[in-house]
């Protein structure tokens, strides 16, 4: 795909406004993308600090640093903040920055709603975090907030939690609607659906998933609210309700949510591997179909989170096979990335290192997922550290590595400066080592029987837990290096060319670096 570079004759009267109100009132997709990215970075550091508390407490057996009640609040908030505050807003930020530039659109379709969907997020997390200072403490029932833990036995702050989830949901839904309307209606002439960059495809599918399941989550927390305050019995057995129903509704949202957090990563990694292998992607349409199949299958596998609640045998078998079926399209993607690299002239800049680590480590997370999908085996693995190791392998070196790769890959386009390659590589290797030292031993202690969500553990798990904590501290500290690298790049550095990377293709690389405040005010011409 090639395009004529647009001329910027009308830039002088359309620059950004000055001062703080620029950020409050902005409807510019690049500004809002930046806001989302910085917000998610802040949440990543807060959620990360909580992870440090968790690993410090688990450094040795016995209770040392925090009370068990506070520990429960930490694991709950760590999960909620990393998912809803870290990963999801980071992907929305990337979508804001990149989707309009990739399809040759001047901005998002609904710029004012775009501003609103960002600016309600800080309030949601202010409410959630403020519950730490309330009587009875913050939510302590785990990020999955199973009833009746989150209803009958919840601290009073659960109501604030419910409202903050409502606000997060509203923000995600608005963001998703914006993405769909933009992609479906604002593509430059010549950008057909099957010509869209894969990141755009991945976000189109993700946005549909969000619109389908975020309202169900809103419904679930609304039912909790009614059970707690209005005397209904949706999840209360005494009143004719059923706590298992909560788990069905939650995971009907929760499983597609897992793919919401990984599909955009698939898109990002496809671009990066293509660029640094200096080859076209091995199979574009198979990638699109694989993502579509994963998205559709994600709606019929939810009960694999609930194998031990007493499902009938037929249901256990169905959910086991359906879950394993997802390995097929996922395998298509992994082999696609490998085939793209095969015989390419590969260079290993920081984004490529993160992308390759993504492919390797995400695949490992996928394999432990397959193990968990085996119903009879899951009875042993359920709620152990094996599960913790599994989902951290798909989320940290999966989703989060892809976000870091994306930042290194596109930051020269965003601010016009190259990042410090030496520091970037250092950050990669520290993160890579840190993540594996943290989470690989958790497979062992999980298989040996250590339950998750415990502040104390039996002595035989001590060694691996200590190693895991050391890895976590290393990983945590290296993210401060990431912050330093990003700030340093924004402040200055070697000027980036318009194409930035030798092998980069796509419309966003045809505009100047840094990308002007307004791009593609006239649609680009595409051959």
């Amino acid at each position: 795909m090639s395009a004529v570079i647009e001329n910027h004759h009308d830039d002088h009267h359309h620059g950004p406004a000055k001062g703080l109100t620029r950020w409050l009132y902005t409807t510019n997709h690049k500004d809002i993308g930046t806001l989302y990215l910085w917000f998610s970075f802040a949440m990543f550091l807060i959620g990360g600090a909580m992870a440090m508390v968790i690993r410090a407490e688990l450094f040795q057996p016995g209770m040392q640093i925090v009370e068990p009640e506070f520990y429960n609040q930490m694991i709950t908030l760590h999960g909620l903040i990393m998912i809803f505050g870290g990963v999801m807003p980071a992907f929305v930020g990337l979508a804001n920055w990149l989707v309009p530039m990739m399809i040759g659109a001047p901005d998002m379709a609904l710029p004012r709603m775009n501003n609103l969907s960002f600016w309600i997020l800080p309030f949601a997390f202010f409410i959630l975090l403020s519950s730490l200072f309330m009587e009875g403490g913050a939510p302590n029932f785990g990020w999955t907030f199973y009833a009746p833990l989150s209803t009958t036995y919840a601290p009073p702050s659960v109501t604030f939690f419910i409202f903050s989830v409502h606000i997060m949901g509203a923000s995600s839904i608005m963001g998703a609607i914006n993405v769909v309307v933009t992609i479906m209606n604002m593509r430059a002439p010549g950008v057909g659906l099957m010509k869209m960059p894969l990141f755009v495809w991945s976000w189109l599918i993700t946005a549909y998933l969000l619109i389908a399941v975020m309202p169900v989550l809103a419904g679930a927390v609304t039912m909790m609210l009614m059970d707690i305050h209005f005397g209904t019995s949706f999840f209360n057995a005494a009143g004719g309700g059923d706590p298992v129903l909560f788990q069905h509704i939650f995971w009907f949202f929760g499983h597609p949510e897992v793919y919401i957090m990984i599909l955009p990563a698939f898109g990002i990694v496809s671009h990066i591997i293509e660029t640094f292998s200096r080859k076209q992607l091995f199979g574009y349409s198979s990638m699109v179909w694989a993502m579509l199949s994963i998205a559709i299958l994600s709606f019929v596998v939810w009960a694999h989170h609930m194998f031990t609640v007493g499902l009938p045998l037929a249901a256990e078998l169905f959910f086991m096979w359906a879950t394993m079926l997802i390995a097929v399209p996922t395998g298509v993607k992994v082999f696609n990335w490998i085939a793209t690299m095969f015989k390419g002239s590969i260079t290993f800049e920081t984004p490529m290192l993160f992308a390759i680590a993504f492919v390797v480590l995400f695949t490992m997370g996928g394999f432990s997922g397959l193990m968990l999908a085996i119903t009879p085996a899951d009875f042993q693995y359920h709620d152990t550290y094996f599960v913790v190791a599994h989902f951290h392998y798909v989320l940290v070196p999966g989703a989060i590595f892809s976000i870091m790769a994306a930042v290194y890959y596109w930051i020269p386009k965003w601010c016009g400066n190259m990042y410090d390659e030496r520091l970037g590589k250092l950050h990669f290797w520290l993160s890579f080592i840190g993540v594996n030292v943290t989470f690989f031993p958790q497979h062992f202690i999980g298989l040996a029987g250590m339950p998750r969500r415990v502040p104390d553990y039996a002595l035989q798990f001590a060694d691996w837990n200590m190693i895991s904590s050391v890895g976590a501290f290393l990983f945590g500290v290296s993210q401060l290096l990431f912050l330093f690298i990003v700030v340093k790049t924004v402040m200055g550095g070697k000027k980036a060319t318009d194409q930035v990377w030798e092998g980069a293709r796509g419309l966003e690389w045809t505009v100047a670096s840094p990308a002007p405040y307004h791009t593609f005010t006239t649609p680009p011409k595409i051959d």
Partner: protein, 186 residues
């Protein structure tokens, strides 16, 4: 915004409340699904049926288990813990219950059947679990359940366990009880 974009926007905006409603629709759907397939051990009231009665049924062990939900102070236990019954015949079993407190209290028992694929074959003509129990301080009662296990029970099942958990619902507001009654009248 062009008309095509408006159309997309309208569709998406309609989809959101529809999915929100779908979340709530899962509640009755779940109950219907469980009732049709009988998979979560829930047993609903059934009418007397001559067709179910059989003279030469096969023998079957019927066990009763009682559980007090957290903080429920009543004494609650089956009069007989094990019965040997024969399929296709009506039996009445009783549970002894006593309010050990000095307050008037309301209770609700919630049943469950194991193995779960026996639930659909267990027919309850009457059961104390279809209504609430109100006991005065110190009052005691024998609560009856009249049931039949139909002869089409899978052959590999030699033992059926009927368990009840009793909940304290004294502090439930009237609307909650109404909701509960609505659910139980199947």
């Amino acid at each position: 915004m062009n008309p095509e974009a408006k159309k997309t926007l309208r569709r998406l905006v309609i989809a959101v409340p529809l999915m929100f409603a779908f979340g709530f629709a899962l509640v009755p759907l779940y109950d219907v699904f469980c009732e049709v397939t009988g998979i979560n051990g829930k047993v609903f009231q059934s009418d007397y049926s001559e067709d179910l009665v059989k003279e030469d049924g096969r023998p079957l062990g019927l066990q009763f288990i009682s559980t007090n939900n957290e903080n429920m102070p009543w004494i609650f236990k089956p009069s007989k813990e094990v019965m040997t019954i024969s399929t296709g015949k009506y039996y009445t079993a009783t549970f002894y219950v006593k309010n050990t407190t000095d307050k008037k209290m309301m209770a609700q028992a919630v049943p469950s059947v194991a193995p779960s694929n026996a639930a659909a074959h267990l027919k309850k003509l009457e059961c104390f679990c279809f209504e609430q129990q109100e006991l005065m301080p110190g009052e005691e009662a024998l609560l009856p359940v009249k049931l039949l296990v139909s002869d089409d029970l899978p052959k590999n099942i030699k033992n059926v366990i009927l368990s009840y958990t009793i909940f304290d619902i004294t502090d439930y507001r009237d609307d909650a009880i109404a909701h509960n009654e609505m659910n139980m009248e199947h």
